[in-house]
Protein backbone atom coordinates (compact mmCIF):
# COMPACT_ATOMS: atom_id res chain seq x y z
CA UNK A 1 0.00 0.00 0.00
CA UNK A 2 1.23 3.49 -0.77
CA UNK A 3 0.15 6.66 0.95
CA UNK A 4 1.70 8.93 -1.65
CA UNK A 5 2.16 8.04 -5.28
CA UNK A 6 3.59 10.37 -7.86
CA UNK A 7 4.01 9.46 -11.48
CA UNK A 8 5.59 11.36 -14.37
CA UNK A 9 5.08 14.61 -12.50
CA UNK A 10 5.93 17.70 -14.53
CA UNK A 11 5.60 21.34 -13.58
CA UNK A 12 6.48 24.26 -15.80
CA UNK A 13 6.39 27.94 -15.04
CA UNK A 14 5.91 29.48 -18.45
CA UNK A 15 8.17 27.42 -20.68
CA UNK A 16 10.90 26.54 -18.25
CA UNK A 17 10.36 23.20 -16.51
CA UNK A 18 10.83 23.09 -12.76
CA UNK A 19 10.06 19.39 -12.47
CA UNK A 20 10.18 16.84 -15.25
CA UNK A 21 8.84 13.30 -15.19
CA UNK A 22 9.38 12.62 -11.49
CA UNK A 23 8.15 9.29 -10.07
CA UNK A 24 7.97 8.64 -6.36
CA UNK A 25 6.04 6.44 -3.96
CA UNK A 26 5.86 6.45 -0.17
CA UNK A 27 4.53 3.68 2.04
CA UNK A 28 3.25 4.14 5.60
CA UNK A 29 6.11 4.32 8.08
CA UNK A 30 8.67 5.27 5.46
CA UNK A 31 11.00 8.24 5.81
CA UNK A 32 12.17 9.61 2.51
CA UNK A 33 14.60 12.49 2.13
CA UNK A 34 14.38 14.71 -0.90
CA UNK A 35 17.75 16.20 -1.71
CA UNK A 36 18.74 18.87 -4.16
CA UNK A 37 20.36 22.26 -4.62
CA UNK A 38 18.32 25.41 -4.24
CA UNK A 39 16.03 25.47 -7.25
CA UNK A 40 16.24 21.73 -7.86
CA UNK A 41 12.46 21.48 -7.50
CA UNK A 42 12.09 20.18 -3.94
CA UNK A 43 9.73 22.87 -2.68
CA UNK A 44 7.75 22.78 -5.91
CA UNK A 45 7.32 19.03 -5.58
CA UNK A 46 6.06 19.51 -2.03
CA UNK A 47 3.64 22.27 -3.01
CA UNK A 48 2.27 19.99 -5.72
CA UNK A 49 1.80 17.17 -3.21
CA UNK A 50 -0.06 19.60 -0.93
CA UNK A 51 -2.23 20.85 -3.75
CA UNK A 52 -0.98 24.42 -3.38
CA UNK A 53 -0.12 24.54 -7.09
CA UNK A 54 -1.27 22.43 -9.99
CA UNK A 55 0.89 20.05 -11.98
CA UNK A 56 1.42 20.70 -15.70
CA UNK A 57 1.37 16.94 -16.33
CA UNK A 58 1.52 13.69 -14.42
CA UNK A 59 -0.40 12.34 -11.46
CA UNK A 60 -0.30 12.68 -7.70
CA UNK A 61 -2.45 10.70 -5.29
CA UNK A 62 -2.57 10.99 -1.52
CA UNK A 63 -4.11 7.75 -0.28
CA UNK A 64 -5.99 7.58 -3.55
CA UNK A 65 -7.25 11.17 -3.39
CA UNK A 66 -6.35 14.26 -5.37
CA UNK A 67 -3.79 16.55 -3.71
CA UNK A 68 -5.46 19.48 -1.97
CA UNK A 69 -8.81 17.67 -1.74
CA UNK A 70 -10.57 17.70 1.61
CA UNK A 71 -9.55 14.11 2.36
CA UNK A 72 -5.95 14.66 1.31
CA UNK A 73 -5.70 17.77 3.48
CA UNK A 74 -7.15 15.95 6.45
CA UNK A 75 -4.47 13.24 6.10
CA UNK A 76 -1.51 15.51 5.43
CA UNK A 77 0.61 17.73 7.67
CA UNK A 78 2.99 20.32 6.30
CA UNK A 79 5.94 22.16 7.74
CA UNK A 80 6.97 24.93 5.33
CA UNK A 81 10.53 26.11 4.92
CA UNK A 82 11.09 29.05 7.30
CA UNK A 83 7.67 28.54 8.84
CA UNK A 84 6.00 31.77 9.97
CA UNK A 85 3.10 32.68 12.22
CA UNK A 86 1.34 35.87 13.12
CA UNK A 87 3.68 37.61 15.56
CA UNK A 88 0.93 38.84 17.88
CA UNK A 89 -0.34 35.38 18.75
CA UNK A 90 1.10 33.12 21.41
CA UNK A 91 2.16 29.62 20.45
CA UNK A 92 -0.63 28.19 22.58
CA UNK A 93 -3.29 30.30 20.81
CA UNK A 94 -1.89 29.46 17.40
CA UNK A 95 -1.71 25.73 18.04
CA UNK A 96 -5.18 25.70 19.66
CA UNK A 97 -6.51 27.28 16.47
CA UNK A 98 -4.80 24.65 14.31
CA UNK A 99 -6.21 21.93 16.56
CA UNK A 100 -9.73 23.30 16.06
CA UNK A 101 -9.18 23.43 12.31
CA UNK A 102 -8.36 19.72 12.41
CA UNK A 103 -11.39 19.02 14.60
CA UNK A 104 -9.30 18.23 17.69
CA UNK A 105 -9.51 19.44 21.25
CA UNK A 106 -7.76 22.84 21.58
CA UNK A 107 -6.62 21.89 25.10
CA UNK A 108 -4.13 19.53 23.49
CA UNK A 109 -2.02 22.57 22.58
CA UNK A 110 -0.10 22.55 25.86
CA UNK A 111 1.06 18.89 25.78
CA UNK A 112 1.90 19.26 22.09
CA UNK A 113 4.07 22.31 22.76
CA UNK A 114 5.70 20.62 25.72
CA UNK A 115 6.58 17.74 23.45
CA UNK A 116 8.56 20.04 21.15
CA UNK A 117 10.26 21.75 24.09
CA UNK A 118 8.25 24.98 24.24
CA UNK A 119 6.57 24.27 27.57
CA UNK A 120 7.88 27.44 29.20
CA UNK A 121 7.45 29.81 26.27
CA UNK A 122 4.03 28.82 24.97
CA UNK A 123 2.20 31.86 26.35
CA UNK A 124 4.67 34.36 24.95
CA UNK A 125 3.94 35.99 21.61
CA UNK A 126 5.53 34.24 18.66
CA UNK A 127 6.99 37.59 17.60
CA UNK A 128 9.48 37.25 20.46
CA UNK A 129 10.64 33.76 19.40
CA UNK A 130 13.96 32.79 17.85
CA UNK A 131 14.02 31.03 14.50
CA UNK A 132 14.56 27.67 16.17
CA UNK A 133 11.58 28.22 18.45
CA UNK A 134 9.35 29.14 15.50
CA UNK A 135 10.50 25.97 13.81
CA UNK A 136 9.37 24.04 16.89
CA UNK A 137 5.94 25.68 16.75
CA UNK A 138 5.83 24.60 13.12
CA UNK A 139 6.74 21.09 14.12
CA UNK A 140 4.08 21.08 16.84
CA UNK A 141 1.36 21.95 14.33
CA UNK A 142 2.64 19.23 12.00
CA UNK A 143 2.23 16.65 14.76
CA UNK A 144 -1.49 17.35 15.24
CA UNK A 145 -3.67 14.29 14.93
CA UNK A 146 -1.06 11.73 13.83
CA UNK A 147 -1.01 12.64 10.14
CA UNK A 148 -0.71 9.80 7.65
CA UNK A 149 1.62 11.85 5.48
CA UNK A 150 4.04 14.50 6.71
CA UNK A 151 5.62 16.90 4.24
CA UNK A 152 8.53 18.72 5.85
CA UNK A 153 10.41 21.35 3.85
CA UNK A 154 13.96 21.71 5.20
CA UNK A 155 12.74 20.97 8.72
CA UNK A 156 16.12 21.03 10.41
CA UNK A 157 17.39 24.33 9.02
CA UNK A 158 17.75 26.70 11.94
CA UNK A 159 17.98 23.93 14.51
CA UNK A 160 21.11 23.41 16.58
CA UNK A 161 22.69 19.92 16.51
CA UNK A 162 21.05 18.81 19.75
CA UNK A 163 17.59 19.93 18.61
CA UNK A 164 18.22 18.25 15.28
CA UNK A 165 18.89 14.97 16.99
CA UNK A 166 15.72 15.34 19.07
CA UNK A 167 13.84 16.16 15.91
CA UNK A 168 14.97 13.00 14.14
CA UNK A 169 14.12 10.94 17.23
CA UNK A 170 10.61 12.36 17.03
CA UNK A 171 10.41 11.48 13.35
CA UNK A 172 11.48 7.94 14.12
CA UNK A 173 8.66 7.68 16.64
CA UNK A 174 6.16 8.99 14.10
CA UNK A 175 7.37 6.66 11.39
CA UNK A 176 7.12 3.75 13.81
CA UNK A 177 3.47 4.64 14.38
CA UNK A 178 2.84 4.51 10.64
CA UNK A 179 3.24 8.08 9.35
CA UNK A 180 4.95 8.40 5.99
CA UNK A 181 7.44 11.26 6.04
CA UNK A 182 8.75 13.20 3.07
CA UNK A 183 11.40 15.70 4.08
CA UNK A 184 13.74 17.86 2.08
CA UNK A 185 17.24 19.01 2.71
CA UNK A 186 20.10 20.42 0.72
CA UNK A 187 22.76 18.46 2.53
CA UNK A 188 23.16 14.71 2.67
CA UNK A 189 25.11 15.10 5.88
CA UNK A 190 21.97 16.48 7.53
CA UNK A 191 19.77 13.50 6.81
CA UNK A 192 22.50 10.84 7.18
CA UNK A 193 21.14 7.49 8.14
CA UNK A 194 17.98 8.83 9.72
CA UNK A 195 15.94 8.21 6.60
CA UNK A 196 15.00 5.00 4.89
CA UNK A 197 15.45 6.27 1.39
CA UNK A 198 17.07 9.20 -0.32
CA UNK A 199 15.86 10.80 -3.53
CA UNK A 200 18.13 13.25 -5.27
CA UNK A 201 16.67 15.91 -7.54
CA UNK A 202 18.76 17.91 -9.92
CA UNK A 203 17.29 20.55 -12.20
CA UNK A 204 13.83 19.11 -11.80
CA UNK A 205 14.77 15.51 -12.58
CA UNK A 206 15.17 12.58 -10.25
CA UNK A 207 18.79 11.54 -10.65
CA UNK A 208 19.12 8.95 -7.90
CA UNK A 209 17.02 7.04 -5.44
CA UNK A 210 17.97 4.49 -2.83
CA UNK A 211 19.39 3.91 0.61
CA UNK A 212 22.50 5.76 1.65
CA UNK A 213 24.57 2.57 1.16
CA UNK A 214 23.18 2.09 -2.33
CA UNK A 215 24.02 5.69 -3.21
CA UNK A 216 27.50 5.28 -1.77
CA UNK A 217 28.05 2.24 -3.97
CA UNK A 218 26.57 3.96 -6.98
CA UNK A 219 28.77 7.01 -6.59
CA UNK A 220 31.84 4.71 -6.53
CA UNK A 221 34.00 7.46 -5.17
CA UNK A 222 37.58 6.56 -4.21
CA UNK A 223 38.78 6.48 -0.63
CA UNK A 224 41.43 8.93 0.42
CA UNK A 225 44.52 7.39 2.06
CA UNK A 226 47.01 9.29 4.19
CA UNK A 227 50.38 7.63 4.90
CA UNK A 228 52.86 8.81 7.50
CA UNK A 229 56.42 7.49 7.01
CA UNK A 230 58.67 6.42 9.85
CA UNK A 231 61.51 8.76 10.74
CA UNK A 232 63.84 9.00 7.72
CA UNK A 233 61.81 6.53 5.67
CA UNK A 234 60.03 9.13 3.52
CA UNK A 235 61.85 8.36 0.26
CA UNK A 236 61.41 4.60 0.79
CA UNK A 237 57.69 4.97 1.32
CA UNK A 238 57.39 7.28 -1.67
CA UNK A 239 59.12 4.63 -3.77
CA UNK A 240 56.66 1.98 -2.56
CA UNK A 241 53.70 4.24 -3.43
CA UNK A 242 54.82 6.13 -6.54
CA UNK A 243 51.28 7.36 -7.27
CA UNK A 244 51.07 9.19 -3.94
CA UNK A 245 51.44 12.92 -3.66
CA UNK A 246 53.70 14.34 -1.02
CA UNK A 247 52.18 16.95 1.27
CA UNK A 248 54.40 18.15 4.09
CA UNK A 249 55.43 14.90 5.78
CA UNK A 250 52.33 13.04 4.59
CA UNK A 251 51.78 10.96 1.47
CA UNK A 252 48.29 11.12 0.06
CA UNK A 253 46.73 8.82 -2.49
CA UNK A 254 43.28 7.73 -3.55
CA UNK A 255 41.97 4.22 -3.92
CA UNK A 256 38.83 2.96 -5.71
CA UNK A 257 36.56 1.03 -3.34
CA UNK A 258 37.14 -2.23 -5.26
CA UNK A 259 40.92 -2.09 -4.69
CA UNK A 260 40.77 -1.60 -0.96
CA UNK A 261 42.01 -5.12 -0.15
CA UNK A 262 44.91 -4.86 -2.60
CA UNK A 263 45.91 -1.61 -0.96
CA UNK A 264 45.86 -3.26 2.47
CA UNK A 265 48.30 -5.87 1.20
CA UNK A 266 50.64 -3.17 -0.11
CA UNK A 267 50.42 -1.32 3.17
CA UNK A 268 51.41 -4.39 5.16
CA UNK A 269 54.38 -4.97 2.80
CA UNK A 270 55.53 -1.39 3.42
CA UNK A 271 55.31 -1.94 7.15
CA UNK A 272 58.96 -1.08 7.70
CA UNK A 273 58.65 2.40 6.27
CA UNK A 274 55.13 3.18 7.51
CA UNK A 275 54.47 4.82 10.89
CA UNK A 276 50.71 5.33 10.57
CA UNK A 277 47.91 5.56 8.03
CA UNK A 278 44.31 6.81 7.70
CA UNK A 279 41.61 5.51 5.38
CA UNK A 280 38.98 8.16 4.72
CA UNK A 281 35.74 7.11 3.03
CA UNK A 282 34.18 9.72 0.75
CA UNK A 283 32.12 12.19 2.75
CA UNK A 284 28.37 12.35 2.36
CA UNK A 285 28.66 15.74 0.75
CA UNK A 286 31.18 14.31 -1.74
CA UNK A 287 28.72 11.56 -2.65
CA UNK A 288 25.91 14.03 -3.04
CA UNK A 289 28.02 16.42 -5.14
CA UNK A 290 29.16 13.51 -7.32
CA UNK A 291 25.63 12.23 -8.01
CA UNK A 292 23.91 15.55 -8.53
CA UNK A 293 26.89 16.90 -10.49
CA UNK A 294 27.06 13.87 -12.77
CA UNK A 295 23.43 14.37 -13.70
CA UNK A 296 24.04 17.99 -14.61
Amino acid sequence: MTILSISKLTKRYGRSPVLEGVDLALSPGERVALLGHNGAGKSTLMKLVLGLTRASAGRIEVAGHAPGSAVARALTAYLPENVAFHPSLSAREQIAHYLRLRGKNPRDAAPLLERVGLGDAMDRRIGTYSKGMRQRVGLAQALIGRPRLMVLDEPTSGLDPVSRREFYALLEELAASGSAILLSSHALSEVETKTDRIVILSRGRKVAEGTLDALRTEAALPLTVHLRPREGQGPALAAAFPEAQRRADLLTLTCPPAEKMALMARLSRANGALADFDLLPPSLDDIYAQISGRAA
Binding site: L50, G51, A77, P80, V83, L89, H97, R100, L101
Partner: protein, 275 residues
Protein backbone atom coordinates in the same frame (compact mmCIF):
# COMPACT_ATOMS: atom_id res chain seq x y z
CA UNK B 1 -16.96 23.67 8.44
CA UNK B 2 -18.78 26.22 10.59
CA UNK B 3 -16.59 25.50 13.61
CA UNK B 4 -13.47 25.99 11.45
CA UNK B 5 -14.75 29.33 10.19
CA UNK B 6 -15.60 30.36 13.74
CA UNK B 7 -12.14 29.37 14.94
CA UNK B 8 -10.62 31.45 12.12
CA UNK B 9 -12.88 34.38 13.01
CA UNK B 10 -11.89 34.07 16.65
CA UNK B 11 -8.16 34.09 15.94
CA UNK B 12 -8.54 36.98 13.48
CA UNK B 13 -10.49 38.99 16.03
CA UNK B 14 -7.77 38.32 18.57
CA UNK B 15 -5.21 39.61 16.07
CA UNK B 16 -7.33 42.71 15.37
CA UNK B 17 -7.57 43.29 19.11
CA UNK B 18 -3.80 42.97 19.59
CA UNK B 19 -3.08 45.16 16.58
CA UNK B 20 -5.27 47.85 18.16
CA UNK B 21 -7.60 47.85 15.17
CA UNK B 22 -10.58 47.30 17.43
CA UNK B 23 -9.58 50.20 19.66
CA UNK B 24 -8.77 52.48 16.74
CA UNK B 25 -12.03 51.70 14.95
CA UNK B 26 -14.19 52.21 18.02
CA UNK B 27 -12.36 55.35 19.11
CA UNK B 28 -12.61 56.81 15.62
CA UNK B 29 -16.35 56.21 15.30
CA UNK B 30 -17.08 57.42 18.84
CA UNK B 31 -15.04 60.56 18.39
CA UNK B 32 -16.63 61.53 15.08
CA UNK B 33 -20.13 60.74 16.37
CA UNK B 34 -19.56 62.82 19.47
CA UNK B 35 -18.29 65.77 17.48
CA UNK B 36 -21.22 65.54 15.08
CA UNK B 37 -23.90 65.20 17.72
CA UNK B 38 -22.54 68.07 19.79
CA UNK B 39 -21.91 70.29 16.80
CA UNK B 40 -25.25 69.35 15.26
CA UNK B 41 -27.18 70.86 18.15
CA UNK B 42 -28.85 73.33 15.82
CA UNK B 43 -32.54 73.94 16.42
CA UNK B 44 -34.31 70.85 15.25
CA UNK B 45 -37.93 71.69 16.01
CA UNK B 46 -38.09 73.95 12.99
CA UNK B 47 -37.30 70.99 10.74
CA UNK B 48 -40.12 68.88 12.12
CA UNK B 49 -37.61 66.29 13.27
CA UNK B 50 -36.58 65.01 16.68
CA UNK B 51 -33.10 65.54 17.92
CA UNK B 52 -31.94 61.94 17.31
CA UNK B 53 -33.20 61.94 13.72
CA UNK B 54 -31.19 65.08 13.07
CA UNK B 55 -28.15 63.32 14.46
CA UNK B 56 -28.85 60.24 12.33
CA UNK B 57 -29.03 62.43 9.25
CA UNK B 58 -25.59 63.87 10.05
CA UNK B 59 -24.21 60.46 10.94
CA UNK B 60 -25.45 59.08 7.61
CA UNK B 61 -23.40 61.64 5.73
CA UNK B 62 -20.40 60.95 7.91
CA UNK B 63 -20.68 57.16 7.68
CA UNK B 64 -20.77 57.20 3.91
CA UNK B 65 -17.15 58.33 4.09
CA UNK B 66 -15.98 56.77 7.29
CA UNK B 67 -17.38 53.22 7.23
CA UNK B 68 -15.91 52.29 3.82
CA UNK B 69 -12.58 53.85 4.82
CA UNK B 70 -12.54 51.96 8.09
CA UNK B 71 -13.48 48.69 6.38
CA UNK B 72 -10.75 49.07 3.77
CA UNK B 73 -8.16 49.92 6.43
CA UNK B 74 -9.04 46.81 8.38
CA UNK B 75 -9.17 44.47 5.40
CA UNK B 76 -6.47 45.45 2.91
CA UNK B 77 -3.83 43.40 4.71
CA UNK B 78 -5.91 40.21 4.96
CA UNK B 79 -4.36 38.24 2.11
CA UNK B 80 -1.34 40.34 1.14
CA UNK B 81 -0.16 40.37 4.76
CA UNK B 82 -0.32 36.59 4.94
CA UNK B 83 1.56 36.32 1.66
CA UNK B 84 4.25 38.66 2.94
CA UNK B 85 4.59 36.97 6.33
CA UNK B 86 4.66 33.59 4.61
CA UNK B 87 1.77 32.24 6.67
CA UNK B 88 -0.55 31.58 3.74
CA UNK B 89 0.82 28.26 2.37
CA UNK B 90 0.47 26.56 5.75
CA UNK B 91 -3.08 27.87 6.23
CA UNK B 92 -4.10 26.53 2.86
CA UNK B 93 -2.95 23.01 3.70
CA UNK B 94 -5.40 22.84 6.60
CA UNK B 95 -8.87 21.32 6.15
CA UNK B 96 -10.38 24.76 5.62
CA UNK B 97 -10.98 25.93 2.08
CA UNK B 98 -10.09 29.33 0.72
CA UNK B 99 -13.73 30.34 1.00
CA UNK B 100 -13.75 29.32 4.66
CA UNK B 101 -10.56 31.24 5.41
CA UNK B 102 -11.97 34.36 3.78
CA UNK B 103 -15.32 33.91 5.54
CA UNK B 104 -13.58 33.67 8.92
CA UNK B 105 -11.61 36.84 8.27
CA UNK B 106 -14.73 38.63 7.05
CA UNK B 107 -16.70 37.58 10.13
CA UNK B 108 -14.02 38.86 12.51
CA UNK B 109 -13.57 42.15 10.68
CA UNK B 110 -17.31 42.62 10.38
CA UNK B 111 -17.54 42.24 14.13
CA UNK B 112 -14.97 45.03 14.49
CA UNK B 113 -17.00 47.28 12.17
CA UNK B 114 -20.25 46.39 13.95
CA UNK B 115 -18.74 47.17 17.35
CA UNK B 116 -17.32 50.45 16.10
CA UNK B 117 -20.54 51.71 14.50
CA UNK B 118 -22.79 50.50 17.33
CA UNK B 119 -20.69 52.08 20.06
CA UNK B 120 -20.04 55.19 17.98
CA UNK B 121 -23.67 55.79 17.16
CA UNK B 122 -24.66 54.95 20.72
CA UNK B 123 -22.62 57.92 21.89
CA UNK B 124 -24.61 60.11 19.52
CA UNK B 125 -27.87 58.67 20.82
CA UNK B 126 -26.90 59.31 24.41
CA UNK B 127 -26.01 62.92 23.63
CA UNK B 128 -29.31 63.41 21.77
CA UNK B 129 -31.41 61.96 24.58
CA UNK B 130 -29.57 63.95 27.21
CA UNK B 131 -30.11 67.16 25.28
CA UNK B 132 -33.79 66.81 24.46
CA UNK B 133 -35.14 64.07 26.67
CA UNK B 134 -37.48 61.26 25.72
CA UNK B 135 -38.63 63.04 22.57
CA UNK B 136 -35.40 62.01 20.91
CA UNK B 137 -36.38 58.36 21.29
CA UNK B 138 -38.62 58.79 18.24
CA UNK B 139 -35.45 58.59 16.22
CA UNK B 140 -34.40 55.18 17.57
CA UNK B 141 -35.69 53.14 14.59
CA UNK B 142 -33.68 55.39 12.29
CA UNK B 143 -30.63 54.77 14.46
CA UNK B 144 -31.08 51.00 14.32
CA UNK B 145 -31.47 51.24 10.56
CA UNK B 146 -28.29 53.26 10.37
CA UNK B 147 -26.45 50.61 12.36
CA UNK B 148 -27.40 47.58 10.30
CA UNK B 149 -27.00 49.38 6.99
CA UNK B 150 -23.57 50.56 8.15
CA UNK B 151 -22.66 46.94 8.85
CA UNK B 152 -23.80 45.96 5.34
CA UNK B 153 -21.83 48.83 3.85
CA UNK B 154 -18.86 47.72 5.91
CA UNK B 155 -19.24 44.15 4.62
CA UNK B 156 -19.10 45.41 1.04
CA UNK B 157 -15.87 47.30 1.55
CA UNK B 158 -14.29 44.59 3.70
CA UNK B 159 -14.78 42.13 0.85
CA UNK B 160 -13.59 44.67 -1.71
CA UNK B 161 -10.53 45.14 0.52
CA UNK B 162 -9.97 41.37 0.47
CA UNK B 163 -10.22 41.41 -3.31
CA UNK B 164 -7.62 44.22 -3.54
CA UNK B 165 -5.45 42.35 -1.06
CA UNK B 166 -5.60 39.20 -3.20
CA UNK B 167 -4.97 41.02 -6.46
CA UNK B 168 -1.94 42.99 -5.30
CA UNK B 169 -0.36 40.31 -3.06
CA UNK B 170 1.78 42.97 -1.37
CA UNK B 171 0.51 45.02 1.56
CA UNK B 172 1.83 48.30 0.17
CA UNK B 173 0.17 47.68 -3.18
CA UNK B 174 -3.04 46.59 -1.51
CA UNK B 175 -3.11 49.76 0.60
CA UNK B 176 -2.70 51.90 -2.52
CA UNK B 177 -5.44 50.02 -4.32
CA UNK B 178 -7.74 50.33 -1.31
CA UNK B 179 -7.30 54.11 -1.18
CA UNK B 180 -7.90 54.33 -4.94
CA UNK B 181 -11.02 52.23 -4.57
CA UNK B 182 -12.30 54.47 -1.81
CA UNK B 183 -11.69 57.58 -3.91
CA UNK B 184 -13.50 56.11 -6.89
CA UNK B 185 -16.52 54.74 -5.02
CA UNK B 186 -17.01 57.50 -2.50
CA UNK B 187 -15.76 60.68 -4.14
CA UNK B 188 -15.20 60.44 -7.88
CA UNK B 189 -18.32 58.41 -8.62
CA UNK B 190 -20.61 61.09 -7.20
CA UNK B 191 -18.63 63.86 -8.84
CA UNK B 192 -18.90 62.05 -12.15
CA UNK B 193 -22.66 61.64 -11.76
CA UNK B 194 -23.01 65.26 -10.80
CA UNK B 195 -21.06 66.37 -13.83
CA UNK B 196 -23.14 64.11 -16.06
CA UNK B 197 -26.42 65.40 -14.63
CA UNK B 198 -25.32 69.00 -15.08
CA UNK B 199 -24.22 68.34 -18.64
CA UNK B 200 -27.42 66.42 -19.42
CA UNK B 201 -29.57 69.29 -18.11
CA UNK B 202 -32.69 67.27 -17.29
CA UNK B 203 -32.51 64.94 -20.28
CA UNK B 204 -33.01 61.19 -20.55
CA UNK B 205 -29.86 60.45 -18.57
CA UNK B 206 -31.08 62.36 -15.55
CA UNK B 207 -34.51 60.78 -15.48
CA UNK B 208 -33.80 57.21 -16.59
CA UNK B 209 -30.16 56.25 -16.09
CA UNK B 210 -29.13 58.42 -13.19
CA UNK B 211 -31.38 56.86 -10.50
CA UNK B 212 -30.05 53.41 -11.35
CA UNK B 213 -26.48 54.56 -11.37
CA UNK B 214 -27.06 56.15 -8.00
CA UNK B 215 -28.31 52.96 -6.33
CA UNK B 216 -25.69 50.88 -8.15
CA UNK B 217 -23.06 52.41 -5.88
CA UNK B 218 -23.36 50.83 -2.42
CA UNK B 219 -22.36 54.06 -0.66
CA UNK B 220 -25.03 56.06 -2.46
CA UNK B 221 -27.56 53.29 -1.87
CA UNK B 222 -26.71 53.47 1.84
CA UNK B 223 -27.24 57.22 1.91
CA UNK B 224 -30.49 57.17 -0.04
CA UNK B 225 -31.94 54.28 1.93
CA UNK B 226 -31.28 55.92 5.28
CA UNK B 227 -32.63 59.28 4.17
CA UNK B 228 -35.71 57.86 2.45
CA UNK B 229 -36.68 55.31 5.08
CA UNK B 230 -37.40 57.94 7.72
CA UNK B 231 -39.33 61.12 7.00
CA UNK B 232 -37.73 62.85 9.93
CA UNK B 233 -34.22 61.97 8.81
CA UNK B 234 -35.02 62.99 5.26
CA UNK B 235 -36.44 66.28 6.48
CA UNK B 236 -33.44 66.91 8.66
CA UNK B 237 -31.07 66.28 5.80
CA UNK B 238 -32.96 68.52 3.44
CA UNK B 239 -32.62 65.85 0.80
CA UNK B 240 -35.99 64.20 1.29
CA UNK B 241 -37.20 65.19 -2.16
CA UNK B 242 -34.21 63.74 -3.91
CA UNK B 243 -34.33 60.54 -1.90
CA UNK B 244 -38.07 60.06 -2.33
CA UNK B 245 -37.73 60.10 -6.10
CA UNK B 246 -36.28 56.59 -5.91
CA UNK B 247 -38.36 53.61 -4.77
CA UNK B 248 -37.04 52.44 -1.42
CA UNK B 249 -36.58 48.81 -2.47
CA UNK B 250 -33.92 49.75 -4.97
CA UNK B 251 -31.28 51.04 -2.55
CA UNK B 252 -32.22 48.24 -0.13
CA UNK B 253 -31.70 45.60 -2.81
CA UNK B 254 -28.38 47.24 -3.68
CA UNK B 255 -27.31 47.14 -0.02
CA UNK B 256 -28.26 43.48 0.27
CA UNK B 257 -26.75 42.33 -3.01
CA UNK B 258 -23.47 44.22 -2.81
CA UNK B 259 -22.04 42.31 0.16
CA UNK B 260 -22.69 39.04 -1.68
CA UNK B 261 -21.26 40.28 -4.95
CA UNK B 262 -18.19 41.72 -3.22
CA UNK B 263 -17.63 38.50 -1.26
CA UNK B 264 -17.82 36.46 -4.47
CA UNK B 265 -15.39 38.86 -6.13
CA UNK B 266 -13.00 38.50 -3.19
CA UNK B 267 -13.28 34.72 -3.34
CA UNK B 268 -12.54 34.72 -7.07
CA UNK B 269 -9.53 37.01 -6.60
CA UNK B 270 -8.25 34.90 -3.69
CA UNK B 271 -8.60 31.79 -5.86
CA UNK B 272 -5.99 33.22 -8.21
CA UNK B 273 -3.39 33.65 -5.48
CA UNK B 274 -0.73 30.96 -5.77
CA UNK B 275 1.01 30.57 -2.44
Amino acid sequence: MISRILSTARIEFLIALRNRWVTIAIAMMMLFSLVLSVAGSAPSGALGADRLSVTVASLTSLSVYLVPLLALLISFDAVAGEVERGTLPLHLTYPLGRGGLLAGKLAAQLLVVALAVTLGYAVAAVVAVQASGAAALAGLPALFRLIWTSVLLGAVFLSLGHAMSSLSRRPSGAAGMAIALWLVFIVLYDLGLLAAVVADDGGAFTTRVFPWLLVANPADAFRIFNLAASDAVGAASGLAGAADAIAIWKPLASLLLWPLAAALLARAAFGRVQP
